[in-house]
């Protein structure tokens, strides 16, 4: 915007006013010319009559050469205010008498012959207020503006001389000036009136525009409900309507926007409260390891320090094993962009050095472009759980241990009895009974062992002894060891191992137990048919499958079979803890296990998958 501004009403009124003013001047000018011509003509008529009358009056004096009387007449005429001078010339144009006698008068010459003028010479008025003087050609500037009237003196048709009266133009000019002073004043007044009127009319026409402007200013002040009420019946009304419509839409969309913002704020508030009041530590990590958000500090650490120093500070209070474990999980989240749950770490309280167990779930957070933006971590203090778990494990172990000794003694007694009955013939009668007792005592013992193993594995008190081993070899061993039992039930066992070795890093004893449990489970639920043990391997993982032609599983049971002591109904045999232990072992080796079945009566498959 430029520094100056002119209101629209002046912009519109000014050209009109100027135009009107110019027209007025032109009109005035034209009128003046006409009036002046009139005035001059009237004056000329007046002076020509005067000169003729004067000539008649002095004719006799001239004829009789009574110059004294003639001079008297001339002086009388010259004394008139409008008369500049009077002169009587002879036929040749030479002066005879003049009045007033001291004043030099113009010599009139015929413009054609250059000798003398016979007709009155008009004044050369070209400009209204600055009358030029008339004069003889050589004497220009010598005289004031003059009119001259001449009348010849005849005797018997012969011209004897000429009377010339010089009038000053003052009278004419005064008259014209008088007339126009008034006229000009009035025309100026008229022009002003017209300018004012134009301005007023223009103002009326553009007034709605100003109202529109006020509306806009009101809206800018925040009064959104204001509307322009304009009924001018022209383009401005159209503009106002369009403007109002635009406002309506704007207001509508603003309301929507506001509602959405409110909803967002409300939900944000809700979630913030949730996060802030959560008992878990919820934090957000940048891929570089900075802590972007933290709802509460880890025990013994200050929130500000954590936010400033990030992950390294947190990790510095961990055992090397925990740090490695946490970083491995974090890298997995970063690389594979998948959540990693239950990352167990042991945190040492900075002051009391008390051990705090945390279980952390790491979840990647993405931008819209699927780029990793941050990692969300939810850390739960599981120290109490851990303590209970250790207690439970100790309890189970103690109970199982206490059970073990009596059962062992029982087995040993049966063992002796068995031997004794073999020696005596009478023993035949009890052989079967002793066998039954032995089998059940064995079962009891193995169950105690399984319970102890599972409890130990779940508590994590005894880490796996992972060493390089060969899965193929372990599977062959399992098949070999299970063969007598399978043949006893008149089933067939098929091995599809291709004789290949599958090098793996694991606890061989545990893996042996895992596969044994799967085969035992198949055996338990397969009345007839066969059991197939197969292994498939590619570059990234190995899959071991134990399938049977047994009773199969219902869809809802596929997950539950891995629960401890799961039993579908009182009539069916329970699962015991064999599969629960199998799952625990698989998971501890970083693998997974699941069951598949086409349905009841259609057999089932148990699949274990280990990453290589």
């Amino acid at each position: 915007m430029n520094g100056y501004r002119i209101s629209l009403r002046y912009k519109l009124a000014l050209p009109v006013s100027v135009f009107v003013f110019l027209m007025l001047i032109l009109l005035t000018h034209t009128t003046i010319r006409v009036v002046r011509d009139f005035v001059v003509e009237a004056f000329q008529g007046q002076i020509s009559i005067q000169v003729e009358d004067f000539t008649k009056a002095i004719r006799s004096s001239f004829l009789f050469r009574n110059y004294t009387y003639l001079q008297f007449h001339l002086d009388a005429m010259a004394s008139r205010p409008e008369v500049y001078g009077v002169e009587v010339v002879d036929r040749e144009g030479l002066p005879i008498l003049q009045a007033p006698i001291f004043r030099k008068l113009p010599i009139l010459k015929d413009p054609v012959s250059g000798t003398r003028a016979l007709f009155p010479v008009q004044s050369l008025l070209s400009i209204l207020f600055q009358p030029e003087r008339i004069s003889s050609e050589e004497g220009r500037g010598e005289f004031p503006d003059l009119f001259v009237a001449a009348s010849p003196i005849f005797r018997e048709g012969k011209e004897l001389g000429n009377v010339q009266i010089f009038y000053t133009a003052h009278k004419v000019h005064d008259q014209i000036r008088r007339i126009y002073r008034k006229r000009i004043f009035f025309s100026f007044l008229g022009a002003m009136a017209i300018a004012f009127l134009t301005s007023a009319v223009t103002w009326l026409a553009i007034r709605p525009l100003f109202r529109l402007r006020i509306t806009v200013l009101d809206i800018l002040k925040g009064r959104m409900g204001v509307r322009a009420k304009i009924h001018s019946g022209d383009e401005i009304e159209d503009l106002a309507e369009a403007f109002n419509e635009m406002l309506n839409r704007l207001e509508h969309s603003m309301r929507n926007h506001q509602l959405r913002t409110e909803a967002l704020e409300e939900s944000e508030e809700r979630y913030r409260a949730l996060v802030e009041n959560a008992s878990d530590v919820i934090w957000l990590l940048s891929p570089a390891g900075q802590i972007i958000f933290l709802n509460q500090a880890f025990e013994g650490l200050r929130r500000e320090d954590l936010l400033k120093e990030g992950l390294p500070l947190f990790l510095s209070f961990h055992t090397d094993e925990s740090i490695l474990h946490f970083n491995t999980a974090l890298n997995q989240v970063k690389k594979e962009k998948v959540p990693v749950d239950h990352v167990a770490t042991v945190f040492h309280h900075p002051q009391s050095r008390r051990q705090i167990y945390y279980s952390t779930n790491l979840t990647p957070v993405f931008t819209h472009g699927r780029e990793l933006k941050a990692i969300q971590a939810v850390s739960r203090d599981v120290t109490e759980l851990k303590r209970i778990e250790v207690m439970k494990e100790r309890l189970i172990r103690d109970v199982a241990h206490e059970l073990k000794t009596p059962v062992a003694k029982f087995q040993m007694t049966l063992n002796w009895l068995d031997q004794e009955f073999q020696k005596e013939k009478a023993g035949e009668r009890y052989k079967e009974l002793v066998g039954l007792m032995k089998r059940n005592a064995d079962l009891l013992m193995s169950m105690i062992a399984e319970v102890m193993n599972l409890s130990r594995l779940e508590a994590g008190t005894e880490p796996l002894a992972r060493k390089p081993c060969d899965l193929g070899q372990i599977l062959s061993q399992v098949c070999e060891d299970m063969d007598p039992l399978i043949r006893e039930k008149k089933l067939s066992l098929e091995k599809r191992l291709d004789g290949q070795s599958i090098p793996f890093e694991g606890d061989a004893a545990m893996l042996y137990r895992l596969f044994t449990n799967l085969v035992v489970n198949a055996l338990k639920f397969t009345p007839q048919g066969r059991i197939v043990v197969e292994a498939q391997k590619n570059k990234r993982e190995v899959r071991i499958r134990v399938s049977d032609t047994g009773v199969g599983l219902e869809k809802g049971d596929l997950e539950k079979v891995f629960d401890r002591f799961y039993q579908k109904s009182a009539a069916t045999p329970g699962m015991g803890i064999g599969l629960a232990l199998a799952r625990e072992i698989a998971v501890l080796h970083g693998g997974r296990i699941w069951a598949e079945s086409e349905g009841p009566g259609k057999g089932s498959r148990f699949i274990v998958e280990f990453p290589l």
């Binding site: 003694k409 040993m412 002796w416």
Partner: protein, 126 residues
Amino acid sequence: MKTQTKLKKILIVEDDEDLHLLYRLYLQGQSYQIIQARNGKEGLECVAAERPDLIILDMIMPVMDGEEFIQKLRFEKKETGIPVIIASVNDKIPPALIEKTKVRSVLKKPFAIETLLGEIERALKG
């Protein structure tokens, strides 16, 4: 049974009375002399008094447990010649202990008669 040939003496260090009975039943008819001790302390006294040819040792016992017994036997009493078989319900005996104290073998309870007899025979042969 030849009385002039001296019977081999087997010391059984075991706190469980039932097991003493079972050992007796298992070894019935075999030409071994059985000496019974109820704990490690008693066991050490028996070793001094009876000079057994073989010791079958339980691990968990009151007063003095198996571990303490064997360490005292080997390093305090310097009885390095007597073979020791550990018989326990717990199969997790620290390998370092077995090696240091020259334990002949470990029997996991329960065991069969043949297993026990086989182990004893092998231990006595040296």
